[in-house]
């Protein structure tokens, strides 16, 4: 059973790939976007927020979801920023 939704498969043109590669590609895509978003967010966070962010990242139990939630709570334009990064990557890797 494919753990990826149709949305993801369609959106990223993964339909032709075998399941294993789909998952691999999703991981790579996710990592790229996650990194890109992190980099951009770090520019925006205030110093206090950076400290908070440090604390969050230092927690052994922190998950990427929490990171995203945190950034979204601090950066009003986070969604826009994320969309930009997603679209940028699409421009790079989609045919």
């Amino acid at each position: 059973m494919n753990p990826l939704s149709k949305d993801v498969i369609v959106e990223w043109g993964l339909g032709d790939l075998p399941l294993e590669e789909q998952i691999d590609m999703v991981d790579r895509i996710g990592r790229l976007i996650y990194q890109a978003v992190l980099v951009r967010s770090l520019d925006i966070l205030s110093e206090v927020e950076q400290v908070e962010f440090d604390l969050l990242l230092d927690e052994d139990t922190t998950t990427p979801q929490e990171v995203v939630v945190f950034l979204e709570s601090k950066i009003p334009t986070f969604k826009l920023l994320l969309k930009e990064e997603i679209n940028k990557l699409k421009m790079d890797i989609l045919v």
């Binding site: 753990p3 990826l4 890109a36 990242l57 922190t62 979801q65």
Partner: protein
């Protein structure tokens, strides 16, 4: 007798425990720690922190006392010598904090981690307690000190650490060491470091790309520029730093000349001052020493070296091939982190000799041993005749094997062999000792030395160098080509880079070659697998005025890292040798005006050339873009600082800094970069590379008109590589500190990402990478705060982001509404849960049209089953939020969901009790205050009233809370429940069991876990014809079967098999019982003949101890006993519980009085393990009410976990009230940088110096407030 100050000594040899002890000490009552000073206990590293001590004595005497304590690690860590500083330091001190960091190699990492994590709290701790230093103690690794001290310096806790902590400690140390090399502060304070020196140094620093050297440069800057007071001292520091390989000859000479305020020192003079650079595996060479130098070194120094040498025996001094390196003074110093100066080398060598004479065995288990070193004085050296090394040996050495990989060590060997006065005997010694020549070659060389005719070798040398000659020759039959190494050319005037220069001088040609190598490396860097270092080296090679030596050094790092393929090495060697100069040279000659990269244009005729050209264009565009990006970031950083200061002044400190617009040139560079990427992309795709990207290409990705696209793996790799490169370049342009901070954050961020298991990662990404992400944050908000990150929750609350929780709540509410709507239409189809379907926020529609359309089509086509899939996802997502939120303290979300109106069953509980879907009304954003009912109405009726009626929802009647790990797509089944729980199974409405046409029996994995699934399987197999063995097995209790099959291992921490929703246990037509995931056969658990094959897949801990679990205080009497339900249940609802466990003050009138201490937890429940549950329940209630009712009333609330309950420090204006589970235990004021607290004395005090439990809680509160004071509002 000097007065001994009070000490807190932490002597636990286990580092982790020591740190824990320290932390505990830090959290103690600061009033007990008045004043302070710095005390340094050194380790056995021959002097330990002596340089620190010297430094602080000389530069920051106000820091107070230093004490050195040597430790003999052969025995118990008993101080063997103690040396104290003058009394005046002690007089100033009243307290010593003594941190011992001891233990194994992990200590270093732990210590660094400790300081990294605690950098703020340590500083605050210092500040709060007026402690101006920290005592450190390590057992056996100088490098630990280096890093730890660097950390302290970074944070300005130590101003300087003397003339080279790296080696100074090892070399000057020993308790009896009396040398004083630290800066003679005050001797010549009028002397100022020349500006041109500073400028040149900064240029060098900015140009450098090597992280290790950057750090050294930082340190030099600190000590060399900011602290130094005399010219001589600066020269000394410069020499020491150069000795460690930080500066090249050229840089060193130039800087030295600037110190002397001369244009340039004559080469001969400069060289006299220069110490030779040494590589680790450099063979020992005769030492040139001052004639008048006193060869005696102190006994303590020798002792120190002995101790270090003992350490060395167990160290891994290895070259890149893993060969053990011999112990030389140089390698010793390096291994001890020392400064590699000639003086130090001499001293260590002398100490070695002394030890050898004393019979000390230097031999390592690997058989390496120190060799005695010859010494000659400078005078002898000067009068010595020329080296006796035959030219043939030099020629051979210079052509050995892969020249570049051996270039550096061989160059030094050759240099040593050529030194004046080197005798044949010494030549033989040097060759024999070399670590880079194999035995065969050594024999050949020795043969040349002793008998072979050098003339005959010379005769065979070809006239010109050829590429094929780079291969190691078979000596002596095929003598190699001698390509002389450049003789460390003096700096030549740049720029050879300039295309305007009509004639290409040798230097210019060399520069072109270097640039060509850089181009080649950049092209290699396009490979996604290529290491970061390619870009770094390429950037370095782009610099002007590099000498061949500089280049070789830089390139040798590539060899050291072993990152080049043989053909790549050959190509680089070709370029370096000038063997492909012809390709470039004519272009330069015919058209000198062409820019640098033009010469290779003709090659574009073919595909390879075009590829190269496009990549170079991309590199160029990237470089330009990065330059702007870096500037922009600086601008943002500065602007943000200013903005926040301004906003704070205006009382609007929470405002987000509006990002400034990008400069048009920046946008242009960005566009250019984008186009370059686009062209390369087209090339990779075989399209017309001149094709212009569409206007607003990024925006067009998801427009309605956009065609569905496919992913391209090659492009993905290219993108990964490109992004990495650009990011590296951006990082490299930052200051070391900024770079370090950025890297640290990025690494931490990625650590978080990498921690996810693959399944959870897929789940996360599936939500994260869709344009319609919007829902992700909302769904996970509960989980985010539920993980127990009090700090996060604190941050969210403190910064006024409670609306995030509310928003999240709204999200859940909306989804639940959807869920109800859809559930009414519902059919059930088990499917993988993923949060991505929650990403349907209308805000994203604009860019999501294409895919929304697709989704709609799918929805139309996929019938109700697909819709039900969504329902399931929504359920799961909502559940996740609730489960996550249940653990949250400091957020309203948790309470709103876990404790709904009337204290009835939580949303979670409802799910447990049968999936009865709560109506939207039952999940108001802000529930009515519980206290209204608590004060007026019986909780029982409220509870009943608040529980919605059971609907016809088709979910099982009894369903234990599902354990969800990290992300919802990987729906992890609940831990196997204990047998008692299973007895209730008959009441469970079991899902339908499919018996297919082949006669297989499939039982979907129960959300209650494998034991329940087995029970269902047993049920379904009743009456089926099975083998005797299988029948016997299935007659056993399901828990036992689960244990037998390896699905449940009750004695192990990870006791439960991990399963996913949709997994099944199947009995096939052959009578085998298997695990299936979809159509995939995972594992055969039992064969028809009864043979058991234990499950060997992933296990997890279904019942970790965490606040999440203990908070599941549920009124469900029939809920199965599960690991997520605390053992000591509090009967009844939370409302009932609160009534029982809390007490109201007579002045209590409204809920907010609770936050003034008027409705605390009863005293009898405040302490003691047996009352943890009461504290948990109270805290949950308290926090929920705070969020619901008091967010706007107070400035800040700090929640401090304490004995399963919470201490709350609640601020309003300057006043802070400290509550322990609602009971006021102290109050205080926070003013402008000042904090003062008073204990609530009516609670009583301890006797005989022992604090009462309340006093301990108060001390904890004060310490935490101190630590977190930046979160409190500052009142002026």
């Amino acid at each position: 007798m000097e007065e001994t100050p009070e000490k807190i000594s932490i002597k636990n040899p286990e580092t982790a425990d020591a740190i824990a002890e320290l932390q505990e000490a830090l959290e103690g009552d600061p009033t007990e720690l008045p004043g302070g000073f710095l005390k340094v206990n050194s380790s056995n590293i021959s002097g330990g922190l002596r340089p620190v001590e010297d430094l602080i004595k000389n530069t920051k005497p106000e820091l107070g006392v230093l004490e050195e304590q040597r430790v003999d690690t052969e025995r118990e860590p008993v101080p063997v010598t103690t040396r104290r500083l003058p009394k005046q330091y002690y007089d100033e001190a009243s307290h010593v904090l003594d941190l011992h960091i001891e233990g194994d190699k992990n200590s270093e990492a732990e210590a660094i981690d400790f300081f990294s994590r605690g950098r703020r709290s340590i500083e605050e701790f210092f500040e709060a307690k007026n402690i101006k230093g920290l005592t450190l103690r390590a057992r056996d690794a100088q490098t630990r000190w280096k890093k730890v001290i660097e950390k302290l310096i970074d944070r300005d806790l130590i101003g300087d650490y003397g003339n080279g902590i790296y080696g100074g400690a090892a070399l000057r140390g020993g308790s009896g060491g009396s040398e004083k090399e630290a800066s003679p502060i005050g001797e010549s304070e009028s002397w100022i470091v020349p500006d041109d020196f500073r400028n040149e140094f900064e240029r060098i620093q900015n140009a450098n790309r090597d992280p290790g050297i950057q750090k050294d440069l930082d340190i030099f800057k600190h000590f060399g520029l900011d602290v130094v007071r005399t010219k001589e001292d600066l020269i000394k520091k410069l020499q020491d730093t150069k000795g460690a390989g930080t500066f090249t000859d050229k840089q060193y000479n130039l800087l030295l000349s600037m110190i002397n305020r001369e244009e340039r020192e004559p080469a001969s003079k400069v060289k006299e001052e220069t110490v030779p650079l040494v590589v680790e595996n450099q063979p020992q060479s005769p030492l040139v020493v001052e004639e008048e130098e006193d060869f005696t070194v102190s006994e303590s120094f020798v002792d120190g070296i002995r101790s270090g040498a003992e350490t060395w025996k167990n160290m891994n001094l290895e070259d890149k091939d893993g060969n053990k390196l011999p112990l030389t003074p140089e390698s010793y110093i390096r291994s001890m982190g020392g400064v590699l100066s000639q003086k130090n080398i001499n001293k260590v060598a002398i100490a070695f000799d002394t030890l050898v004479e004393q019979g000390f065995a230097f031999k390592t288990p690997q058989g390496y041993e120190i060799q005695k070193i010859s010494r000659i004085t400078k005078k002898e050296s000067a009068t010595e005749k020329a080296s006796e090394v035959p030219e043939s040996i030099l020629l051979t050495l210079n052509n050995l094997g892969d020249r570049l990989s051996n270039a550096v060590p061989i160059r030094f060997l050759v240099a040593d062999l050529k030194k004046p006065g080197v005798t044949k005997e010494q030549v033989a010694q040097l060759i024999t000792a070399s670590g880079v020549i194999d035995d065969e070659m050594k024999k050949s060389l020795i043969g040349m030395l002793t008998g072979a005719s050098s003339e005959s070798v010379q005769d065979q040398i070809p006239e010109a160098p050829r590429m094929e000659d780079s291969v190691a020759p078979e000596l002596p039959e095929a003598p190699p080509v001698y390509i002389p190494w450049p003789q460390f050319p003096e700096p030549v005037p740049p720029p050879v880079y300039s295309p305007q220069t009509p004639d290409t001088s040798p230097e210019q040609q060399a520069s072109l070659r270097y640039n060509k190598i850089a181009d080649y490396l950049l092209s290699l860097a396009q490979d996604p697998e290529s290491p970061h270092i390619f870009g770094l080296v390429a950037a370095y090679l782009r610099q002007e005025g590099l000498s061949e030596r500089d280049v070789v050094f830089e390139l040798s790092t590539l060899y050291n890292y072993d990152v080049l393929l043989p053909e790549q090495k050959k190509k680089i060697q070709d370029i370096l040798d000038g063997n492909i100069e012809e390709e470039v040279q004519p272009e330069i000659k015919t058209d000198p005006e062409l820019p640098l990269l033009e010469p290779i244009e003709p090659a574009i005729e073919n595909k390879e050339g075009l590829d190269t050209q496009l990549r170079l264009e991309l590199a160029s565009a990237r470089e330009r873009y990065v330059a702007f990006e870096v500037e922009y970031r600086k601008k943002v950083k500065d602007g943000r600082k200013w903005y926040q200061n301004a906003m704070t002044t205006l009382g609007a400190s929470g405002k987000t800094y509006p990002m400034p617009d990008k400069d048009p040139a920046h946008s242009e560079a960005e566009e250019e970069y984008f186009r370059a990427k686009w062209h390369l992309k087209n090339f990779i795709l075989g399209k017309d590379t001149d094709e212009v990207p569409p206007e607003n290409a990024e925006d067009s990705v998801n427009t309605e008109n956009a065609q569905p696209r496919k992913i391209n793996k090659k492009l993905t790799e290219q993108s990964e590589s490109e992004r990495r490169l650009a990011q590296n370049l951006i990082e490299d342009a930052l200051s070391p500190k900024e770079k370090s901070e950025l890297r640290k954050k990025m690494e931490a961020g990625l650590r978080v990402y990498n921690r996810l298991n693959p399944a959870a990662r897929v789940a996360f990404n599936a939500a994260f990478i869709t344009v319609g992400l919007v829902g992700l944050g909302k769904v996970t908000a509960g989980a985010a705060m539920g993980i127990g990150t009090v700090r996060l929750a604190r941050g969210l609350v403190s910064l006024g982001t409670a609306n995030v929780a509310g928003e999240a709540f709204d999200g859940i509410k909306r989804k639940k509404q959807e869920k109800i709507k859809e559930e009414r239409q519902g059919l059930h189809e088990a499917n993988v849960t993923a949060v991505e379907t929650l990403a349907t926020d209308s805000e994203s529609d604009g860019n999501y049209t294409l895919f929304k359309e697709e989704e709609r089509k799918q929805m139309d086509l996929d019938t109700e089953a697909a819709r039900q899939e969504k329902i399931d996802r929504l359920k799961k997502a909502a559940l996740m939020a609730v489960v996550g939120g249940a653990a949250a303290f400091g957020t309203g979300l948790a309470i709103d969901n876990v404790v709904p109106s009337g204290g009835g069953a939580s949303a979670l509980d409802k799910n447990k009790t049968g999936g009865n879907t709560p109506s939207p009304e039952n999940i108001p954003k802000k529930t009515p205050s519980f206290m209204d009912r608590f004060l007026k109405k019986p909780p029982e009726t409220q509870t009943q009233a608040s529980i919605p009626k059971v609907t016809e929802a088709p979910t099982p009647k009894v369903s234990a809370p599902e354990k969800i790990i990290e992300a919802p797509v990987a729906e992890v089944t609940k831990a196997p429940v204990v047998p008692e729980a299973l007895k209730t199974l008959p009441a469970v409405e079991t899902p339908p069991v499919a018996i297919d046409i082949k006669g297989e029996v499939n039982v979907p994995l129960s959300s209650k876990g494998y034991i329940a699934t087995i029970a269902e399987l047993q049920e379904k197999l009743k009456g089926k014809p099975l083998s005797t063995e299988l029948t016997a097995l299935l007659q056993e209790p399901p828990e036992k079967i689960a244990i037998k099959l390896g699905l449940y291992k009750p004695d192990e921490p990870a006791e439960s098999a991990l399963g996913f929703k949709g997994d099944q246990i199947t009995l096939d037509t052959q009578g085998n019982i298997s695990l299936m995931r979809g159509d995939t056969h995972l594992d055969t658990l039992v064969k028809a003949d009864g043979t058991i094959s234990e499950y060997n897949g992933e296990m997890f801990d279904a019942d970790p101890a965490s606040p999440v679990e203990t908070e599941t205080v549920t009124p469900e009497p029939e809920a199965p006993k599960s690991s997520v339900v605390i053992e000591q249940k509090i009967p009844g609802t939370l409302a009932q519980t609160i009534e029982e466990i809390a007490v109201k003050d007579s002045n209590f009138t409204k809920i907010t009085d609770m936050f003034d201490g008027k409705m605390p937890l009863k005293k009898e429940y405040q302490f003691g393990d047996q009352f943890k549950s009461q504290r948990v329940a109270y805290s949950k209630f308290f926090t929920g009410e705070y969020i619901k009712n008091a967010l706007d009333l107070f400035d800040y609330q700090l929640a401090i976990p304490y004995q399963e309950g919470y201490i709350h420090a609640i601020q309003k204006g300057p006043d802070v009230t400290i509550l322990l589970n609602g009971e006021k235990i102290g109050s205080g004021l926070i003013g402008d940088g000042k904090i003062g607290f008073q204990y609530e004395s009516k609670l009583g005090k301890g006797i005989f110096g022992v604090k009462s439990e309340y006093e301990q809680a108060f001390a904890k509160a004060v310490a935490e407030v101190e630590k977190n004071k930046q979160f409190f509002k500052v009142n002026k």
